[in-house]
């Protein structure tokens, strides 16, 4: 039997930190008492009758069985594969409606292109949270913003992981992603959920990455390796380098000194860029998103991190700004770094995703626009604002971390609620090629798919919600000619909820 004194000493060593929740979880806990739950749901239901655009934020209760789409136009011969996209779909249970769009249970959609036909199916990610709450017929955990009366205790982030933000292919599986917890492994054919991915398993990291935050925007370099980050509420960030099949090659924690919200990041061929917006937690007792505030005096910082060592090499301070998303970064031989951001002047876009959950659609929302930054090797920077607004930036896969000239984004021309247009920007010449869907459509993220390592080749495709008919369509464009309009449009006989991110997996 172990010597008692020695044993007690061992236990004491682990008592201080290991039985404590990570600070990011503590941060999530400071939740304000909500508006009475019934009123949110009732407010939304009332607004939905007046504003059909809100149908994209309505609650979904059932999976979508395999359904064929009605195709208009020409299906290209060189396109086969599956377009996966994900977003929050379960916004309500019982009398309660979530307070923020980011809280809803994730639903994964697949659009399978084969033999000139397209089939859709949609399935809720069967997270432990989803399974328990479905069985209970009500929400049983508080969310980041929504306080549930009598909620169950939350021991770790994956207990409330809704896996609702992005989906990527890793090896022969799909990973559906949140940003404060683990990826969920999903079958690419059936969309059945399997288990939380233990990121260190079968690597030297073993259990030491279990349950760690894994952001929803991993970057895949042209060689196939996957890079990602996860943010802790105490200002630390974990950085990951995985092989294409998901095996962890390297991981390390750096002190980012940042307590705000961080959704996306970038890589060059040599470095990881953590671009830290001018956000800070501000407001005791408020929910996580509620208290995330734009600080107009706080610089937007860039941490330049060596990809091989996963250590911070240098930092830059940029004028205050906020971006959910960045398109690409690349680096010159002398160390000059270029990157783009879909930059907002404040945080109104984040908070209006709370207002829309109550059916409020007329609040002012600041628009984001593409800003091209250059970080000089010896310090200093330049920035160039591109006219027009932009979101969901995309570049060609073979150019991730390398010099790109084309940047594809969505944009708002007239619709205050969601995007209504897509754009291709040549960042060298400023030339714009764009397509406006019209006032009847709410346009979601569009992705590039090509079988060539050739910028401008292949197709841009994405979904849009057609409001008059309450149906979702998938739209295919020649990537080098958006303004001619979709070369193919395929219709679902129903609508699916407005979502976030996805990718096309060619077969």
């Amino acid at each position: 039997m172990m010597n008692r004194r020695h044993f007690i000493k061992n236990l004491s060593m682990v008592a201080g930190s290991s039985l404590a929740m990570a600070p990011n979880m503590q941060a999530l806990a400071k939740i304000v008492e909500p508006t009475p739950p019934l009123s949110s749901k009732a407010q939304f239901a009332r607004s939905l009758k007046k504003n059909p655009g809100l149908i994209g934020f309505a609650n979904i209760t059932e999976n979508f069985a395999l359904t064929g789409l009605t195709i208009e136009g020409r299906m290209p011969d060189d396109l086969s594969g599956t377009f996966y996209r994900i977003g929050p779909a379960g916004h309500e249970r019982g009398d309660l409606r979530y307070q923020h769009l980011f809280e809803g249970d994730g639903m994964l959609h697949s659009f399978h292109f084969s033999g000139g036909k397209i089939f859709h199916q949609g399935k809720f990610i069967n997270t432990p949270k989803f399974a328990k709450e479905k069985q209970a017929g009500k929400f049983i955990y508080s969310g980041p913003d929504t306080k549930i009366s009598g909620a169950r205790a939350v021991h770790h982030a994956d207990e409330i992981n809704s896996s609702n933000t992005n989906v990527i292919s890793v090896g022969d599986k799909l990973w559906t992603l949140w940003e404060a917890g683990s990826p969920m492994q999903v079958n690419p054919q059936t969309l059945d959920s399997s288990h939380w991915v233990n990121l260190g398993q079968n690597s030297p990291f073993e259990q030491s990455l279990k349950g760690m935050p894994f952001s929803a925007h991993p970057k895949v370099d042209p060689g196939g390796d996957i890079f990602n980050f996860g943010l802790n509420g105490n200002g630390q960030a974990v950085l990951y380098h995985l092989s294409a099949n998901g095996r962890m090659k390297n991981a390390a924690v750096v002190n980012a000194g940042y307590r705000g919200m961080l959704h996306d990041f970038l890589i060059t061929h040599k470095h990881i860029l953590l671009i830290l917006p001018s956000l800070s937690p501000n407001g005791a007792g408020k929910g996580f998103f509620q208290r995330t505030r734009f600080e107009k005096e706080q610089p937007m910082r860039v941490l330049v991190i060596d990809k091989a060592e996963l250590t911070i090499k240098k930092g830059y301070q940029l004028p205050p700004g906020f971006a959910f998303h960045f398109g690409n970064a690349w680096e010159e031989r002398d160390g000059t770094i270029h990157f783009d951001a879909s930059l907002y002047p404040d945080d109104s876009s984040l908070h209006n995703l709370s207002a829309v959950m109550k059916g409020q659609v007329n609040k002012h929302t600041s628009r984001s626009q593409t800003v091209l930054y250059t970080l000089k090797a010896k310090g200093g920077f330049t920035q160039q604002y591109i006219d027009g607004d932009s979101e969901f930036p995309k570049v060609y896969d073979h150019l991730v971390g390398h010099r790109n000239r084309l940047l594809y984004t969505t944009g708002h021309k007239h619709n205050p609620l969601w995007a209504d247009s897509i754009r291709k920007l040549n960042t060298d010449t400023g030339a714009v090629d764009e397509y406006y869907y019209g006032e009847d459509y709410l346009v979601e993220e569009h992705v590039i798919t090509t079988n060539k390592a050739d910028e401008g080749s292949g197709y841009l495709l994405g979904t849009a919600l057609h409001l008059p008919s309450k149906r979702t369509c998938i739209n295919l464009f020649q990537a080098d000619n958006l303004s001619q309009g979709p070369i193919m449009r395929a219709w679902l006989p129903y609508h699916i909820p407005l979502g976030f991110h996805g990718n096309f997996q060619r077969s």
């Binding site: 039985l19 404590a20 929740m21 259990q207 030491s208 760690m212 974990v238």
Partner: protein, 142 residues
């Protein structure tokens, strides 16, 4: 002599009664152990200060087995206590945690006190020993 013997008897009776009345056994049942791998480490703390400082009054180890495990701390003095335990599945003598300090092995507390967006609170795990044995049951958290 008789008087002295009587005094001694009275004293020893008092002492014995003091011994028996003011200490007790704590029987703990840990439920929900998921495997037979490794061991369960259990620690008993006397009061909040000792808990916060990690100064255990008593500690013990028992072999893990799927389901429930029972153990007893004997002759514990009256007072306020808290228990915590963990399942050392990989037999390395410590509760493993991830790079951000979150436990990656099973753990738990007396009264089924639960961490909730933060560490479990001492006030929720404390219990009193006063003049009698007690039985406790706590579920392990994985």
């Amino acid at each position: 002599m008789t008087k002295t013997a009587a005094k001694l008897f009275i004293f020893s009776t008092f002492a014995l009664s003091s011994f028996f009345v003011h200490s007790a056994d704590i029987q703990l049942e840990i439920t929900g152990v998921k495997s037979a791998q490794g061991k369960l480490y259990i620690q008993l703390f006397n009061g909040e200060e000792n808990y916060n400082q990690g100064n255990a009054e008593l500690a013990t180890i028992t072999k893990a087995k799927p389901g429930n495990a029972s153990l007893t701390f004997q002759d514990v003095d009256n007072g306020e206590y808290a228990l915590r335990f963990y399942h050392d599945e990989n037999n390395n003598g410590k509760l493993d945690s991830n790079l951000f300090g979150m436990p990656t092995e099973g753990y738990g507390f007396s009264n089924n006190a639960l961490p909730n967006f933060g560490p479990a609170k001492y006030q929720e795990m404390k219990f009193q020993i006063s003049d009698g044995d007690i039985k406790l049951s706590s579920k392990i958290i994985y």
